[in-house]
Point group: C2
Chain length 217, copies 2
C-alpha cells in the first residue's frame, strides 16, 4: 500500500514517513515543497514528489497518481500570516481532496485540529478563530466528498517520545499528545478499515493504539 | 416582500436599502453592526437589526425572522487583515446561509466577486488570492444549499452614478460597474424569479436591467 504524505516535511509528516518505511505493508511517497527538504526522505528510501500546495489540483493529482491513500498533514504553522491559513489549511486541503478524486485515490486521512465544530469557531480567541474556521471548512469538504475518509483531531501536540498509548473518541477531554503517537495512529488507521467514514479526537491515554482504533465500532 | 440586507452599512448596502424603501412592493430590514450606523436607515424608514457577523448563527437567524429574502452584501473590505477575510467573507456568509435555513427564509442573494472560480484562485495575485478563495467557498456553500439562491458577480465597483444599463451573463468581459447599478440589479432580482438558481457577472453595458435579467433564461 503506497501512501502520499502531503506535508511530509512537518514534524508529524517526518515521524509518519519513518513509520511507513519501517512497515513491510506500506511505502511512502513524500510530497515536499522543495529539493532542500529531500535528503531526510531519501535517507529513508522514500519516494519523493516536489509540489507546492499553492500549485493547482493537477500538480497535486500528478503526485497522487498510483498511490492507494493520501494523508494530509500539511499546516501553515503558527508563524505564517492568515493568508496562508486560507491558502494552505483550507484551499490546500480542498485541492488535495479534489486531486484524490482526479487520481482515483479513495482513501484519505486528514489531520485536523482538536475541535473544528461550529461552536469551536465561535468560542475560539479571535487570533485562533480563523485557523479553526479554515480547518472546519476543510473537514466539511472532505465529509461531503465520496472519499473513504478518516479525520483525526489531535490534542495539544508535543515533541515528547511516543508511548503507543492513547485515548480516542468523539468527545475526549482536551489534553496533550506526542506527535509521534499521532503518526502511529495515522499508520494504524491506514491498515484499519474500521476508521473509514469516522472522525475522532486523540490525546495521550492508556489504550494501545490498535485496540483503541478497533473499539471505534 | 421584506428583505434583510446583511452589510447594509456598506456602499452597495446603502444604495440597496434606499432603492428598496422607494419600491412599494419591498421593505428593508437593515442589519448593521452598531447603533452609530443606524441614523441613515432610520431616515429611510427602514427597520434595523443590530448584529455583528462574528456573532453566532442564532443571532443572525433572529434578525432574519419573518423576512422573505436575505441579501448578503457584507465584505471585510480591503483595509482589514486576512483574518477578517475568513471570519466575514467566508464564515460570516456561511453563517448567514445557515441562519436563512433556521429562520426558514428560502430566497438568498449573494454579492460575490467578479470571478470566484477555482482557476481565478490559482491565477490571482498572492495578496488577492485569499479573498477570492473565501468568496469561492462561500459561493460553493450557497450553491450546495437548498436555498433559492442568486449569485451576483460584479465587475470593478465604482462610485459613479448608476445608468440603469448593464451587460450581464456567465462570461462577460471584465469591466467597471457603478455600485448603484449593482444595487438596482439586486432589487430587480428580488422581483424576478428567473434569477433563482443562477449566477452571473455584471458590468456596465447597454441593456436595461430588467430586460437583461429576463434574458437570463
Amino acid at each position: 500500500m503506497k501512501i502520499l504524505v502531503v506535508g511530509a516535511n512537518g514534524k508529524i509528516g517526518k515521524h509518519l514517513v519513518s513509520l511507513i518505511q519501517k512497515n513491510d505493508n506500506l511505502e511512502a511517497k513524500a510530497m515536499i515543497r522543495n529539493k532542500e527538504q529531500a535528503s531526510f526522505f531519501e535517507d529513508l528510501g522514500a519516494e519523493i514528489s516536489i509540489v507546492d500546495l499553492e500549485q493547482d489540483i493537477d500538480a497535486i493529482a500528478n503526485a497522487a497518481e498510483g498511490v492507494d491513500a493520501i494523508v494530509f498533514t500539511a499546516g501553515s504553522g503558527g508563524h505564517t500570516g492568515k493568508d496562508k491559513t486560507i491558502m494552505v489549511d483550507l484551499d490546500g486541503a480542498v485541492k488535495t481532496i479534489e486531486a484524490a478524486k482526479v487520481a482515483d485515490v479513495k482513501r484519505f486521512i486528514m489531520i485536523s485540529s482538536f475541535d473544528t465544530s461550529r461552536e469551536a469557531i465561535q468560542e475560539a480567541a479571535s487570533s485562533f478563530a480563523p485557523y479553526v474556521a479554515a480547518k472546519h471548512y476543510a473537514d466539511e469538504w472532505l465529509k461531503n466528498s465520496d472519499l473513504d475518509y478518516t479525520i483525526i483531531h489531535p490534542g495539544l501536540l508535543t515533541n515528547d517520545k511516543g508511548t503507543g498509548q492513547v485515548e480516542l473518541g468523539s468527545d475526549v477531554e482536551r489534553g496533550e499528545v506526542p506527535r509521534e503517537d499521532i503518526a502511529s495512529v495515522i499508520a494504524a488507521s491506514l491498515e484499519n478499515d474500521t476508521t473509514i467514514g469516522k472522525e475522532f479526537q486523540v490525546v495521550s491515554g492508556k489504550n494501545p493504539i490498535k485496540e483503541a482504533l478497533d473499539s471505534l465500532n
